[in-house]
Symmetry: C2
Subunit: 192 residues, 2 copies
């Protein structure tokens, strides 16, 4: 669950806004007959949102010697809608991919670069008709369909309480924060 | 010039390969009448390659208390060509954007996230008919057209000597490294 916190979001859930906007393009969210979410194939070619390194919302010490990048992507149609309105349309999929961070390698001497295989993929999907609260989290072990993370997990409460736009952590997404600020959709109480 | 090193690339310049492939889509590279490169508008919507934090190829100490992310993007047509061939077509544009990295903010306690405005934009463009050596670097101060970085600058020699695919630092780009390895286009001498 700790990776899911990287996607965390808005303090004030804009509940009244869930059905205000509709994306003209189909959502990339695909489900199995029993309600599991299909793996978001091709997400690496979606719109890049941001990256972080070893982000943690906890005071607990980090794993010494281990570093992890997170790369966040959003589907193109939902990105267009965010550019227009400053918030997310139903069908929005945010994907967070984690990869190991390495310091020494090739000619690199300091800092960190991304190396090796994907360590995990988590998805935050908006579908107010399907999910109470409007959004659901999914954590993929591999590319097999994933079951929804139970709403009792703390990723939901953390995103509800601390994220700045519609339960998403736009305060950590510089290009989107600029848009949300201009559109007036960012909760001022949660600004970094 | 220090940011340019983040784009650095292949040890063995595959000089014979420059004209082997052609992209079916037009390059996004646009020039002024006097040969300056236009700012790559919309690069944030191109294909994301990777991010790094405070990467340095130098033994010199870092700036204490200052962190910088670099985000690398490539135009979609050249990415498709790389997926097909494992190397870059004429017209390829790689863009490296740098942004400040912040540790404390909102509910983040550790690690780094990207914050604030763009600190710099550098471009590495492939055009063997225009540039001796096949590639040129440009460093944008803002969104005004940029003059070419002189070939006497060490970014050129560093990329020639150390980068793994066609003067580009694919050894730091995990998804592209996987492709280049499968296609046999990565210099084995430069693997991390």
């Amino acid at each position: 669950m700790k990776y899911l916190r990287g996607l965390a979001a808005i303090c004030l859930v804009q509940a009244a806004g869930f059905a205000h906007s509709a994306s003209p393009e189909p959502s990339p969210a695909r489900y199995t007959a029993d309600g599991r979410l299909e793996f978001p194939e091709g997400y690496r070619e979606w719109i890049f949102v941001t990256s972080g390194l070893d982000m943690s919302y906890s005071q607990l010490p980090s794993m010494a010697g281990h570093s992890m990048f997170d790369n966040v992507f959003v589907d193109a149609a939902s990105y267009r809608e965010f550019q227009r309105s400053g918030t997310w349309a139903p069908g929005t999929m945010l994907v967070m991919e984690t990869r190991g961070g390495t310091e020494k390698g090739s000619i690199n001497r300091r800092g960190h670069y991304q190396a090796g295989a994907v360590m995990g993929v988590e998805v935050h999907v908006k579908d107010p008709q399907r999910y109470k609260g409007g959004w659901a989290f999914f954590q993929f072990e591999n590319t097999a369909p994933a079951t929804m993370v139970p709403t009792s997990e703390d990723c939901y409460s953390c995103h509800r309480e601390h994220a700045i736009v519609d339960t998403t952590f736009v305060q950590f997404y510089p290009t989107l924060l600029e848009i949300a600020t201009a559109k007036g959709t960012a909760s001022t109480a949660q600004r970094p």
